[in-house]
């Protein structure tokens, strides 16, 4: 392509580039700058540059370390369960489901298309300690009812349950894509050659679906780090700080206390935590797509 032709093409990209520079790149740089100041949106005090004080303050703040811990715990447990269940479901779906394929897939992906707020509201009713169906089931099985959203131990578990419910289908879809990328006749050929099922799994299936599993894992890690809606509706971070997450804490700092400087520092930490996984994801995607 000649440089004149490339020049003619530029008109197609410029609007987007300008848009992104004004509304993404600039705000992001602004956030980095803010994170080194003590900017408070509602106070009339002059904003001062405070260097890395915000970052130091955060790591000394027990609420921040608690929300960091909660978020990491959420990411670890949710993604692990989603991966395990999603992988199992995809394997079953690929191996055994012949009839009603479209129907089952449609029902299974329904939760992840739904508004997280709507999902959380539905579950809030299910988890309700006095008239929720879950405790009703527990009681009819003569188990002790649980204060799902109101107790330190179970609030985080409740959030994990909802996240698993909504996002396991995502893992299923991606792993299924992995399975579908394997040619049926490749499987048949190995079987003709006398391979047993274990060998089939070890030498054909696993190597093919592994990259897909990793993509699912990374995308779930990245998204769970950002979890906000479900927590906001189910527990608002409570009881106490039992379910405080990084996004929720940042929201509170910025838009309840209007400490924009501190909130920016907090969000930059979240960006750093996520960017590690993003880099890995992009490398992986370059390989498989």
């Amino acid at each position: 392509m000649t440089s004149r032709e490339i020049g003619q093409f530029r008109i197609f990209i410029w609007p987007t580039i300008i848009f992104i520079i004004i509304l993404t790149v600039f705000p992001f740089l602004y956030a980095i700058a803010l994170s080194f100041t003590d900017h408070n949106y509602v106070s009339s005090d002059q904003t001062k540059i405070v260097g890395i004080d915000n970052y130091i303050e955060l790591f000394q703040d027990s609420l921040f370390t608690k929300s960091l811990k909660n978020t990491v715990l959420l990411v670890a447990i949710s993604t692990f369960c989603e991966l395990a269940i999603g992988f199992t479901l995809a394997t079953i779906f690929f191996t055994y489901v012949r009839k009603l394929k479209k129907f089952i897939q449609t029902i299974i992906i329904m939760p992840m298309a739904m508004a997280p707020v709507a999902v959380a509201l539905m579950w809030k009713y299910i988890f309700n300690s006095s008239y929720g169906i879950l405790n009703y089931i527990f009681e009819s099985l003569s188990l002790k009812p649980i204060d799902w959203l109101g107790s330190n131990a179970y609030a985080l578990i409740s959030i994990i349950i909802v996240d698993i419910w909504q996002w396991t289908p995502f893992v299923l879809l991606i792993v299924l894509a992995g399975y579908e990328s394997i040619k049926r006749n490749a499987i048949d050929m190995m079987l003709v050659d006398g391979a047993n099922k274990l060998q089939l799994l070890r030498f054909l299936i696993l190597p093919r679906i592994m990259p897909f599993i990793l993509v699912a894992l990374l995308l779930r890690i990245i998204d769970t780090f950002k979890l906000f809606d479900i927590v906001y509706v189910l527990t608002e971070g409570g009881p106490g700080s039992a379910t405080e997450t990084l996004s929720l804490f940042g929201y509170r700092l910025g838009f309840i206390f209007f400490k924009m400087g501190l909130a920016s520092a907090e969000s930059i930490i979240l960006v750093l935590l996520i960017s590690v996984w993003t880099v890995l994801l992009i490398r992986l995607l370059k390989k498989i797509i």
């Binding site: 508004a115 709507a118 930059i268 993003t278």
Partner: protein, 285 residues
């Protein structure tokens, strides 16, 4: 013989596992629907009533206001919030597809460094909303756009451009460049060739992206919570308003949740294939 029995029982276990998940997937939706159709007094009855005369009073109260309505905003303006959600999602979809398809054409055709550009776009998608919203809020406040639909449309467009570019550009790549050359020979300018040849041919990718953008904008909560006030509030923000200091009005709340998911429910039924592809970054075909 024996291995046949083992095989059969494995199959039974497997099928029951996936059936169980289907039931688990549908149950909360079913339960919310059931609750929303209960007369207000039955909602809190224990044990939960499964047999009752369905009653649309919760929907009536949410949609048209009325005696049982507790939350004044709901009585005054549900339709307005529904329209807000609809207008914001629709305009976002159009704007995103307009910008996204154009830049996809560039990325797909100008091979120079464009792969890096494509992945850079994708990495923007991974950015946590909370990191952008703080400066964005200050900017919008500065230009007086807080509590207007425009601010939400702008930020939704930004958050959806990456995926749109990702999909549409990989699709345009599969269209042979000969089509561009033919259009040029027929006297089309680059621009009209793009509009009359490339855009119609990229329909599948454009539909996938449009669905995703619409659903994202319809469902989004964090930005809407921060950027909207009384005037431009969207449905998800409205729905959380049912959680009040004095308790939760379950009947109306579940009715609202059902109203929010109905359009998405219908879209999923109609376009399941497109959606599956879209939600998995195109990994699932």
């Amino acid at each position: 013989m024996r291995s046949n029995i083992i095989h059969k029982s494995v199959k039974t276990v497997a099928i029951s596992f996936i059936s169980a998940w289907v039931i688990i997937s549908i149950f909360p939706i079913f339960w919310a629907l059931l609750t929303s159709l209960k007369p207000p007094i039955e909602v809190a009855s224990m044990p939960p009533k499964l047999l009752f005369l369905p009653d649309f009073s919760n929907y009536k109260t949410v949609l048209f206001g009325g005696a049982g309505g507790f939350y004044s905003i709901v009585q005054e303006g549900f339709w307005r919030f529904l329209m807000n959600s609809f207008v914001i999602s629709t305009i976002t979809t159009i704007l995103t597809l307009f910008l996204g398809t154009m830049s996809s054409y560039y990325i797909a055709r100008v091979k120079l460094k464009s792969d890096r550009l494509r992945f850079w776009f994708l990495s923007l998608r991974m950015m946590p909303p909370i990191a952008i919203i703080i400066p964005f809020y200050i900017m919008m406040k500065y230009v007086g756009l807080v509590d207007s639909k425009i601010s939400l449309i702008l930020i939704y467009t930004i958050f959806n451009l990456p995926l749109t570019v990702w999909f549409v550009s990989s699709y345009i790549r599969t269209i042979p460049i000969e089509y561009d050359q033919m259009a040029a020979i027929d006297g089309f300018s680059k621009w009209s060739g793009f509009l009359k040849v490339i855009v119609p041919m990229s329909k599948p990718a454009i539909i996938t992206s449009a669905l995703l953008v619409f659903i994202f904008s319809w469902n989004e909560f964090l930005f809407a919570l921060i950027l909207t006030g009384f005037k431009s509030k969207t449905l998800p923000v409205l729905a959380t308003g049912f959680i009040t200091q004095r308790g939760i009005i379950w009947g109306q709340l579940t009715a609202t949740a059902i109203i929010i998911i109905i359009p998405i429910f219908i879209m999923t039924l109609i376009a399941q294939r497109y959606l599956s592809r879209g939600m998995t970054l195109g990994i699932k075909r």
